[in-house]
Amino acid sequence: MAEEVVLLDFWVSMFGMRVRVALAEKGIKYEYREEDLRNKSDLLLQMNPVHKKIPVLIHNGKPICESLIIVQYIDEVWNDKSPLLPSDPYKRAQARFWADFVDKKVYESGRKLWTTKGEEHGAAKKEFLEILKTLEEELGEKPYFGGETFGFVDVAFVTFYSWFNAFETFGEFSMEAEHPKIIAWAKRCMQKESVAKTLPDQQKVYEFVLGMRKRFLGE
């Protein structure tokens, strides 16, 4: 049966990028549809009525929502190549834990870097750097969070790399200076075609965030 795979997404979303990386890792052909988040399509509202958010993967007409759930679905359905989750249950639990950590912590904390000022901003910077420190410790000396091979946690976190320039500029710190191991890991991931072809240019992302920041802070 011909597989029909459609992805509803937004170019700058690090959550959408996770799905694109997973699809590329598996070599899956799909139709990419860019959503205008200020004018959401009927299809998006139909396929994700609960959250009305991207990304949404539509596989043979059936929607799957929430980026990490989508990535697990992709890994389970297209299980013939490039496994993203390990096979050992304990290692799987660890992978899910750290991907969930990225979900709970990195986005919200990163967002505060460009939406706050003054004291709040100082606290946000401290918190963000703490989070990166925890991730760096978890990475340790391994080439990837997944160990020898690129895996689930790498997919979950590497998409934030495209936002690093924005985080650094608005956060007023240097990622290379504070967390060189994270930069080394990200660059290693960028050697993979699936990552390099998915992640947008950091400058473009920065300009996008600059625009959002202006609107948010009413400047």
Partner: protein, 233 residues
């Protein structure tokens, strides 16, 4: 893997926590014997701090010396390790994606809005109650689709979403009582009303969900301690 000795499996938890309840139900489904180590309210044991250094929260499952945290992750681990017992997650990847979606919805949207009911007053309270009920109506629809006329989200037997959502029933009843509100009712969520009864009567669940009265009393203690009835542990 054969049944392990009870010392091989430990659960760090506390009786009122719905997240801990999830782990206990999952272990019961698999007939796994375990040692339950109750954390004292207001303090965290060395073992907890050691085995969950990132969040320092319960539940933690310690299996053969290795620790696993985050209730839904623990339940999936239990399902995968003790794979000779009845399955907890669906066998079809799409059905699994759906039950994971709704389990996340319970954690991210439903339970937080339920908790807010206790501290809210007047118009704000009415709005929050309305929001919680809307969420429950969405779960009612999900139940109708997923159960296909059977008793549980998982079909004939309790599954992942039954555990994720059912673990909240003790607090749902307590919040209804404390707030003087009705969350599950025959008119809007008839399927869930029936489901709740079946869930609580199930062999794997009996005795795990605390009585409503006990939870109401516990909530009063929490208010005294923290000024809010349902902080996360």
């Amino acid at each position: 893997m054969a049944n392990s000795s009870s010392t091989d499996v430990k659960v760090l938890g506390a009786w009122p926590s719905p997240f801990v309840i999830r782990v206990r139900i999952a272990l019961n489904i698999k007939s796994v014997k375990y040692e339950f180590l109750e954390e004292t309210l207001g303090s965290k044991s060395q073992l907890l701090l050691q085995s969950n250094p990132v969040y320092k929260k319960i539940p933690v499952l310690i299996h053969g010396g290795k620790s696993i945290s985050e209730s839904l992750i623990i339940v999936q681990y239990i399902d995968e390790v003790w794979n000779s017992g009845p399955s907890i997650l669906h066998s079809d990847p799409y059905d699994r994606a759906i039950e994971r979606f709704w389990a996340a919805y319970v954690d991210d949207k439903l339970f937080p809005s339920m908790k807010l009911i206790n501290t809210a007053q007047g118009e704000e309270k009415a709005a929050i109650v309305e929001q919680a009920i809307e969420g429950l109506v969405l779960l009612e629809e999900a139940f109708q689709k997923s159960s296909k006329g059977k008793a549980f989200f998982g079909g004939d037997r309790i599954g992942f979403l039954d555990i994720a959502f059912g673990s909240m029933l003790g607090w749902l009843r307590a919040i209804e009582k404390m707030g003087g509100v009705k969350l599950l009712d025959e008119a809007k969520t008839p399927g869930l009303v029936q489901w709740a009864e079946c869930f609580c009567a199930d062999g794997a669940v009996k005795g795990i969900i605390p009585d409503t009265e006990k939870l109401v009393e516990f909530a009063k203690i929490l208010v005294k301690m923290k000024g809010a009835p349902l902080g996360k542990n």
